[in-house]
């Protein structure tokens, strides 16, 4: 998803950082749609132009933050420690 847009952003990242640091860019395909002060403005313009089709919004100069969702990454959402698993118990 958004492969073309992400490649376009990566190719132009250094240029964006010089001219639009801290602002939000909107990219659709190989088209640079514009630059906005807030993500809401970017969302509004992107949706006005393209409706409910995917387009990329990136904040320029913001290092990608690690996403941490232990409940999903560890598979422990609603884990119940009182229930035994099928795994064989270790023998002493």
């Amino acid at each position: 998803m958004l492969d073309v847009e992400r490649a376009y952003f990566d190719r132009n990242q250094s240029d964006f950082e010089v001219h639009h640091s801290g602002r939000f860019v909107v990219i659709k395909g190989e088209e640079f749609v514009g630059v906005f002060n807030t993500i809401q403005e970017a969302l509004g313009e992107g949706t006005r132009r393209f409706g409910l089709t995917p387009f990329l919004i990136r904040q320029v100069g913001l290092p990608s933050k690690p996403i941490s969702i232990p409940a999903l990454s560890l598979g422990i959402l609603h884990a119940d420690p009182t229930r035994t698993s099928n795994r064989p118990r270790p023998t002493t």
Partner: protein, 161 residues
Amino acid sequence: MPILHVQATGQGQRLNGTLVQIEPFIALQQRGPCVQVSITLEPTVAQALVQRGERLPSPVTGLALIDTGASVTCIDAQAARQLGLAAVNVVQMASASQASTEQNVYAIQIEIVGFPIRIQSLGAVEAELSAQGLVLLIGRDALQMCTLFYNGPAGEFVLCV
């Protein structure tokens, strides 16, 4: 300031099959702080769609788990499809079964059903949650606008925005 006060409830089954009420502190420990939510388009997106003369999709309702361990909010993939959300970014996320997968990011509005509490998540990550009976994990991006009190011994929690 709208305040949501929830005491967890639940039923358990004895060995003979009879149903019994579970103590609130046990129900809260087992299910976690869950609320009924309605997910809609982020307001700016909704407004722009109206300007285009397009119809707004119906909200998706379901159970959300407040997850202070999650750095961002997660929306169930099926719920995102039902709402017709358009991806605005892609992120890498580790999962239990694979090292790392690419997941779409959406802008959404979360409304607590029956309360005037609306929270925006502009970077909700897609995840498979329906098998857990959930449509949403409310993460710290949404909680940064909220106050949350978790009272384990009483089996209660309070959420204010």
